[in-house]
Symmetry: C2
Subunit: 181 residues, 2 copies
DNA sequence: TCGCGCTTGTGAAAAGATTCACGAATGTAG
DNA sequence: CTACATTCGTGAATCTTTTCACAAGCGCGA
C-alpha cells in the first residue's frame, strides 16, 4: 500500500505519512509502497500494543463502568483486571468476572496483578490522592477523567479526557462564524 | 490576575496566554493584569458558552447514558433534551425526565426541540447514517464516540473521542523509553 | 506631579511542523 | 539486459507556532 493510499485513509498527506514513518525507521519499498502486515506489526511494536496491558479501574460510577464494559478495550489489549470504589454499596459486587474492591486494597492489587495503567473515573476531589497512590504503587500511566490537572512525576504520562471541553470546542467552532447572536 | 498566574494554572507560559488572548482582543490592563470576572465573561462569550445548548443523545448504551447522567454537562450549559435508541427494550423508558425515543422520531425532535448538538454514541455501523440525518435535520455540531471518521459538510464541526486511542497513547509514551521489552 | 515597579500587547527571532521536490530503489515488461 | 513507471526517504523551502524582548501603559506613593 502506498503512502498516497495510507494518507487518504488517515485524512492526511502522502508526504506526512512518509515523514512520520521515517522517524521510526525505513518501512517501505521504493516503487512498491508499504507491506501492510509488516507495517502494522512494526507499528504495534512501536506503540507498545504488541502485548496486553493490565488496567485498573478506579471509580465504578457511570463512566467507569461504561468503560469497563466497552468490549473494544479488551479487544485491543487493555485488560481491566481490577475495579475500586469507595461506595460500600458497590464493594463486593461482581462485574464481568471482576469484583469491586475497597480502595484500601488498591496498592496491594496493583502489585499483585501487575497493573501498569489506571483509569481514574472518580470525583475531582479524590483524583489527586488516587493518582499519587497509584504512582507510589508502581502505576506507569493514567487515563484521567477528573477535571483537574494531576500532579505526578514526569515519567508517568497522563491523558486527560474532558468531555465538557469537547462540547465547548464544538460550541466555539459553531459560534465563531456568527458575528453576533 | 497576571498572565504569569494564568499560565501557571493552565500549564503554559505567560507569553502564550497573552498571545492567545490578543487574538480575540485586548483584555488586560498593563501593570495590573486581567480582570478575572470580565475576562471570564468575555471568554464565555467568545466560546459561545454564554447560553444553553440543546443536546440530543443518539445511542442509549453504557457510554451514552453515562454522559447523560453526568451532572457537569447540564451545569456547564449543555442540556440533554432527547435520547434516541433503536433497541425496543429501551424505547419508552424514562431517564431523568427524558424518554428514550425511536430513531424514526429523530428529525422531528431535532426541529421541535431546537437541538443543535448531538452526541453520537452508537455502534460504528450506525454512526454515519445518524450523522447524515442529523446534519440534514439542522444539527450544527457532533460529538462522536464511534471509531470512524464521519463524512459531514465542513460547516458542521465534529469532535472525535476515541478512548482506545488514549490508552494507546499512554502505552506509546511508556514503551518508547524502554529500548526493548 | 513625578518616578518607580509591574504587566500588557506585539513585532521580531527562534523553533517546530508541513510541504515540496527529487535522487535512488524496486518491480515489470519487452 | 534495458527502459520505464512507481514510490520511498529525505534535504530544502515554506508555513505555523512559540518564545523572546521591549516600548507603552497603568496605579501607587511621595
Amino acid at each position: 500500500m502506498s503512502s498516497e493510499e495510507l494518507a487518504a485513509r488517515g485524512q492526511t498527506t502522502a508526504a506526512q505519512v512518509r515523514k512520520d514513518l521515517s522517524h521510526f525507521g525505513s518501512f517501505g519499498k521504493r516503487g512498491l509502497g508499504y507491506p501492510v502486515d509488516e507495517l502494522r506489526a512494526r507499528l504495534r511494536r512501536i506503540l507498545g500494543i504488541d502485548r496486553t496491558w493490565n488496567v485498573g479501574l478506579v471509580g465504578a460510577g457511570r463512566i467507569g463502568l461504561a468503560l469497563f464494559e466497552y468490549p473494544a478495550f479488551r479487544a485491543r489489549g487493555f485488560d481491566c483486571v481490577a475495579i475500586f470504589d469507595s461506595d460500600p454499596e458497590k464493594i463486593g459486587r461482581e462485574l464481568g468476572g471482576v469484583v469491586v474492591q475497597d480502595p484500601s486494597a488498591f496498592e496491594e492489587a496493583v502489585r499483585a496483578l501487575g497493573i501498569e495503567l489506571i483509569v481514574l473515573a472518580v470525583p475531582a476531589e479524590a483524583a489527586q490522592e488516587m493518582a499519587q497512590r497509584g504512582v507510589d504503587a508502581g502505576v506507569r500511566g493514567i487515563l484521567n477523567f477528573a477535571p483537574i490537572r494531576l500532579n505526578v512525576p514526569p515519567r508517568v504520562p497522563v491523558e486527560d479526557v474532558n468531555l465538557v471541553m469537547e462540547l465547548e470546542a464544538l460550541s466555539f467552532q459553531i459560534s465563531k462564524d456568527e458575528p453576533d447572536a
